[in-house]
Symmetry: C2
Subunit: 406 residues, 2 copies
Amino acid sequence: TINPQRLWDSLMETARIGGTAKGGICRLTLTDLDKGVRDWFRGQCEALGCTVTVDQVGNMFAFKPGKRSDVAPIAMGSHLDTQPTGGKFDGILGVLGGLEVMRTLHDLSYDTNAPLMLVNWTNEEGSRFAPAMLGSGVYAGVFDRAFADSREDRQGVRFADAIESIGYRGEAAPGSVKFGAMFELHIEQGPILEAEQKVVGVVTGVQGMRWYEVECTGREAHTGSTPMNLRANALLGAARVVERVNQIALEHAPSAVGTVGLVEVKPNSRNVIPGHVFFTVDFRHPDDAVLDVMERKLMEAIPAIAKEIGLEAVAKKVWDSPAVRFDAECVAAVRAGTEKAGFPTRDMVSGAGHDAAYIARVAPTTMIFVPCEGGLSHNEAESTTLEECSSGAQVLLNAVLEYDQR
Amino acid sequence: TINPQRLWDSLMETARIGGTAKGGICRLTLTDLDKGVRDWFRGQCEALGCTVTVDQVGNMFAFKPGKRSDVAPIAMGSHLDTQPTGGKFDGILGVLGGLEVMRTLHDLSYDTNAPLMLVNWTNEEGSRFAPAMLGSGVYAGVFDRAFADSREDRQGVRFADAIESIGYRGEAAPGSVKFGAMFELHIEQGPILEAEQKVVGVVTGVQGMRWYEVECTGREAHTGSTPMNLRANALLGAARVVERVNQIALEHAPSAVGTVGLVEVKPNSRNVIPGHVFFTVDFRHPDDAVLDVMERKLMEAIPAIAKEIGLEAVAKKVWDSPAVRFDAECVAAVRAGTEKAGFPTRDMVSGAGHDAAYIARVAPTTMIFVPCEGGLSHNEAESTTLEECSSGAQVLLNAVLEYDQR
Ligand SMILES: NC(=O)NCCC(=O)O
Ligand SMILES: NC(=O)NCCC(=O)O
């Protein structure tokens, strides 16, 4: 069995890298803080005798040999980057939970049949560089390396320059570091497990998700001397789209969600009618066909709103991650792992995107969820207990050993 | 008569200090660029033999003696700071038009009875430091120096530190540099003069204006895994207030205007439900009683909207500049000055705020408007012709001489 306190101590130790006053973490991908936690991670893996390989988009793979060298490794992993106001568990639990599994096996000198692999995927959050799950997406061939390199943050810094500047451009071609299956431990980031008092969620898939970027252009003018009927207020247009996005999600209740998360107003001055607003839309639903309908509604609403105000509006889809069903055998291994531990459990579909969603395209994959307080995530107050974390890591260990027996 | 080309050349020369690619100016108050234009202004005034005094909030007063030293100076002036996407004329025409008057009289060795004073007021725009008309407001005793010093820009830089850092903290106590009347030449910033093909607007007053700051606080959470009914989306609240501000203005058509100009969303990440939105509201109307009604509607709407979404909202009024009527004798001098020039004219009330609005509290004051293309201002495309600028400066000269005769 894994060592709960050791896992917790590692979580708290890394939480200091980018730790915020409110108890969260701000450790955006490919920043110096990300370099800090990557260096730490590499050191810990090497201390266990693992070899660490970095690929060209910064994904880190720690390799631990097994008894057999003729079978592909079983991978565990998630991400160490965070949101600007991120919590201490989102992603990190999956990496450090995997590290705890490695450490436990190392302490026992227990050799699995297959080699093990522990992965830290680059830019999972998608907050600094859109889209999310970029490193795992490149690994899985959803995006190519040039696409990743070309992504720019809102300050105009390119992914390519950011990765070079922290020295995490590895040599391995993305996808060349092979494994035979992947298990990703993660906090649920939603309210269901807590409400139903389940210890572990057996994740059978991930819902579909789409991101859009919208630019509304009107005309900057003086707020005091420009009559209402001569205005082209880009912010009024954006406000109407924010309302419409919310409505569209409600029209497909209860499973649909829709959010405008990022808004930039120009020139953003108290006495200037906004001439330009850039904002993003996030739509999700477990059924891609429903997402098609939601998208159609959005794409009808935007020009209609623009027209009524006299704006130009350009909307484009920048990300489309279809719904995913995880591998039955991997799911069975997780189920067996929870039974062995005697944990109350339920099947569920992930509302959030995860590296596992892309990895599922190229290898048998699944996920293990543990509850988080109030279902709250992408919030500095995100909270999961020592017991919850260690239950998840125990199931991860069990599932990996179960899968390894087959 | 004034020299149109010289006036235009000075406008174009200073437009290079902070000039933008789109032909506007970005010269926020108390920045290094503002220092640049201030240094230039001081040099030009001193070249005419004027003494330049700077007061403790950075207002600059250039003094030109008259035949009599026992009468108070007649002042001209406006401001040299701009919006982030400002034009080449807003404010600047009033200062450089006054400079052209000084230069014309200097060339002719014409001595007025009263001394003349040319003023550059600090932070008229209110874009970097709210509220607007801060320098003239301190001069007029509406605000005290400590209040001005305490103002912070959106990056948290204090007015006090900004003024020290460009070396424009003068020694004169605000209000101690006296004058007997002020004439402010300005572009209209609205569409009326152009539509009616008038050369000059005789400004009889300024409408009332109020600024508010609103903070909506909800709960940051994951856009994918947080069901719609468990959200507290601060941006949805802000969007509804943006819509309501627009409605309130329309309910008091045609004279009312209402605008949200500045919005800051936190954490501003595509996959985080916004937890915090800060935004500003600008309401204007020529009748303060109507502004009271608009304000009441706003203050009712904000808690109602917050309640329906589950947000906390704090709204406060940060500026209240009541409607102003200018001095009859100054207005008469402008009217006489336009008649002498033979320009078609109309009386009007200013929709924008101006330093003259505060100075009117402590000295006889008025303004002269010239048209600008399409009524467009607070926009890099703001445009006024050489002829329009020089007509305004000519009327300024005429009005000052007219007033000086009395
Ligand atoms: N798990 C997680 O928060 N991923 C970020 C990608 C997304 O779901 O928006
Ligand atoms: N004239 C001018 O644009 N002043 C700025 C103050 C305001 O009216 O908002």
